[in-house]
């Protein structure tokens, strides 16, 4: 079954503009990690925001885990889509500790479950010793791990990552690429990774595509 199914998706910022995304289609199967490559300004971030529900397409449809989340007649709010996202600058809540950041997406669950999920996530990203820290007390790589753990904790159907390595040093990148691949594999997470860097895709992804697309679907 396809976890993500995008059909004929189009988007422009205002009515008269050229569409930034023009009749884009994409299907992703369970456990796949799709790398999206493309030059700056080609609409990669916009595509992720459309899937997340942070923007509304002008036409086309998106289905996630068998449920239609947006088409011409309906729109499901981002919080109800079961989509996780790691932002380029991580956007960790500055007034919350690592622990509270990760637990933030677990609010519906019973207490014990939340505790055990937290520990599980901390272990997954190897940050057990840092749960009392605030984001500004972490290095870039550590922040990135926390952002990843926070996005994974609610067990989304699909994880979106927008240039997750762009804020990191080159040395750190190789190491983290490897870790990320393991983490995603362990969690059996269906993901979309947006990047400039062919190396990211080679190291992490099971599949890749270029935007703007030349042949319309894959």
């Amino acid at each position: 079954m396809n976890i993500v199914d995008i059909q004929e998706l189009s988007f422009s910022f205002s009515r008269n503009d050229e569409p930034i995304i023009d009749r884009f289609s994409l299907s992703i199967k369970k456990g796949e990690v799709v790398g999206i490559l493309g030059p700056s300004g080609s609409g990669k971030s916009t595509l992720l925001r459309l899937i997340a529900g942070l923007e509304m397409p002008s036409s086309g449809s998106i289905t996630i885990a068998g449920r239609r989340v947006v088409d011409d007649r309906m729109f499901i709010q981002p919080e109800d889509r079961g989509v996780g996202m790691v932002f380029q600058d991580y956007a960790l809540f500055p007034h919350m500790t690592v622990k509270d950041n990760i637990m933030f997406g677990l609010s519906g669950l019973p207490r014990d479950k939340r505790k055990s999920d937290l520990e599980e996530m901390l272990e997954l990203v190897q940050m057990q010793d840092y749960k009392k820290r605030y984001p500004h007390e972490l290095s870039g790589g550590q922040q990135q791990r926390v952002a990843l753990a926070r996005a994974l904790a609610p067990r989304p159907n699909v994880l979106l990552m927008d240039e997750p390595f762009s804020n990191l040093d080159t040395d750190l990148k190789d190491e983290i690429r490897h870790d990320l691949r393991e983490i995603l594999q362990k969690a059996d997470m269906t993901s979309i990774l947006v990047t400039h860097d062919q190396k990211d895709v080679a190291a992490i992804c099971t599949k890749q595509m270029m935007v703007p697309v030349t042949s319309r679907s894959m």
């Binding site: 997340a52 529900g53 942070l54 509304m56 011409d72 007649r73 309906m74 729109f75 709010q77 981002p78 919080e79 109800d80 989509v83 996780g84 996202m85 932002f87 600058d89 956007a91 960790l92 809540f93 500055p94 007034h95 933030f104 997406g105 609010s107 519906g108 926070r150 996005a151 609610p154």
Partner: protein
């Protein structure tokens, strides 16, 4: 198809936040529209009389006040800004800051202070007479009507021009002034050939604020007995209880304001300079000898007239009346003022926060909404007051059957005699202050935390309380302070909309002054001034923090 899309949009955007914003916008818009509506009703006899005999006087007086004050404040404001921006002289840092202080003295307080200082029995004339044995025509010094008003407005409103021009000169003009200096130009030609034309947009911006204050003034002009549109609105209501004519006057005043905005746009558009993008701060030239003394003297004189002299005089009067004024009744008055200001400010901040949150995502809708919300601030208090008053009287009429059913009597005035009316007036007038503070706050927080939170499964409301609110604390605090202080010292709305027997510090001060009980007015005046100085300082500090 389009209908489906509209429904989809609605599904995305429509929620409690949106609905509350609409209510807020409605409350603000209704009285203003109601005032305009009066233009289309058939005029009553009163109005015909007003139009025939009085309208011309109001117009002429208003135009004279506005033009002369505008020119004088422009001159003083630019002169001071130029001195401070491009020269160094003794006490400059002190003057740079204190030259703003005259804004902290509400002009009506300045008016009665100066009028009494300069009167036959006042400190100036009696000193001349008794100590120096100089006898002058007392008429010469007495502040009256139009010229008195212009004097007061000029010395207590020039800081608007000064502040805006100073900011502009300090940041933008370095290249031009330094070039001119290098080419050997003398200061005076530099002032006329370069400073004046260059800072035109800033000067216009400042003068528009001055003009706006003059147009909305009630305290000074009524104290000096000048008939303007604003005083006429009050007189028509208090003297004749003629709401319809008052509203008609208000809508004419409103048309003048719209005209003013138009003129401002026009003046600003015609000439736009391409200022160097890489703007650096101007390096002031050190003045020596006589020039330095002259510069200090000019600044010193103006700040003395605009702040220190009236404050010292008020302190002297306060000393004389301290024992009679400073009692439990006075605390009651203080308490009432704080009480109503806190209520109004709290309501304003709740609405502002909600509306600022809704208008964060840019769209035509949020643009219009933000314009409506801030409309009240560019409309004189008297207009808002009369609109609110008329609307509440109408509302009481509609509610008469309900009152009767509740056995409150036949067609009583309940709402229009309650504090609700004044609070609504404040909310309309000062919503812009709260909204601007919250808008800046949301802008600083950005969208990233909000979006993260929503991606983690929290809706708009939970996100607000868990993520945005903690990050907005600073904005809320500064918004609260600024709004509270404005309401605390507000005069025209309070005069018109307060319930019978309800006084604020400002209305009490005004009454003392009007009853020629000048000494008693000193203590409440000083409190108002102290609070305003505080607000000036807060604004400056916030400004500095934003810059850093």
């Amino acid at each position: 198809m389009e209908l489906d899309k509209a429904r989809r949009y609605f599904q995305k955007e429509c929620n409690g936040w949106w609905l509350i914003s609409m209510v807020g916008a409605g409350v603000i818009l209704l009285p203003i529209l109601y005032v305009f509506l009066s233009l289309f009703q058939s005029p009553n006899e009163n109005w015909i009389h007003i139009r025939q005999y009085l309208l011309q006087t109001y117009t002429v007086n208003t135009i004279i006040l506005v033009t002369v004050t505008g020119l004088l404040t422009a001159f003083i404001g630019v002169l001071l800004a130029w001195l401070i921006a491009s020269y160094d002289f003794p006490f400059k840092r002190f003057f740079r800051f204190t030259l703003i202080f005259p804004l902290a003295i509400p002009p009506y307080i300045a008016a009665y202070t100066y009028r009494n200082m300069l009167s036959y029995t006042g400190v100036v004339q009696s000193t001349l007479r008794n100590q120096l044995d100089i006898h002058i025509n007392s008429e010469l010094l007495t502040l009256t009507s139009v010229s008195g008003s212009i004097f007061i407005f000029t010395f207590f409103l020039y800081p608007y021009v000064y502040l805006i021009t100073l900011a502009f000169l300090e940041k933008q003009s370095a290249a031009y002034i330094e070039n001119a200096r290098m080419l050997g130009q003398k200061p005076v030609p530099i002032f006329f050939k370069i400073i004046l034309p260059l800072s035109r947009p800033a000067i216009i911006g400042g003068v528009v604020l001055v003009v706006y204050e003059v147009l909305s003034d009630y305290g000074v002009t009524s104290y000096f007995g000048v008939h303007t549109f604003t005083t006429a609105i009050f007189q028509t209501w208090f003297g004749m209880y003629d709401v319809d004519s008052a509203m008609r006057l208000a809508s004419w005043l409103m048309i003048m304001i719209v005209g003013l905005v138009f003129i401002e746009r026009l003046l600003r558009k015609r000439r736009r300079y391409h200022l160097p993008r890489q703007s650096r701060s101007i390096v002031p030239v050190r003045l020596k000898g006589g020039k330095a003394v002259a510069a200090s003297l000019v600044c010193g004189t103006i700040v003395s007239i605009g702040f220190f002299i009236p404050v010292i005089q008020l302190l002297a009067w306060a000393g004389m009346t301290f024992h009679t004024i400073w009692d439990s009744q006075f605390f009651e008055l203080l308490y009432q003022t704080v009480y109503i200001a806190v209520i109004a400010t709290a309501i304003i901040l709740v609405f502002s926060t909600i509306i600022a949150n809704v208008t964060r995502s840019p769209s035509t809708f949020s643009y219009i909404l933000s314009k409506i919300v801030t409309a009240g601030y560019s409309i004189p208090g008297a207009i808002i007051a009369i609109g609110v008053l008329a609307l509440f009287i109408l509302l009481d009429g509609w509610l008469a059957p309900v009152y009767e059913w509740m056995e409150l009597g036949e067609a009583p005035l309940i709402l229009s005699l309650s504090l609700v009316m004044l609070v609504v007036g404040y909310v309309i007038r000062y919503m812009a202050m709260g909204y601007n503070a919250m808008e800046v706050g949301f802008e600083k927080v950005g969208n990233r935390y909000t979006e993260s939170s929503r991606m983690l499964g929290h809706g708009k409301t939970t996100t607000f309380f868990k993520v945005e609110l903690p990050l907005l604390k600073g904005a809320l605090l500064s918004g609260f302070l600024l709004t509270f202080i404005e309401i605390f010292k507000e005069l025209p709305l309070a005069l018109l909309l307060r319930p019978f027997n309800f006084e604020t510090l400002a209305t009490k001060t005004y009454q003392y002054a009007n009853d020629e009980r000048i000494y008693e007015a000193a203590i409440p005046s000083l409190i108002i001034i102290a609070v305003s100085v505080l607000s000036v300082i807060v604004v400056q500090l916030l400004d500095r923090r934003v810059k850093e």
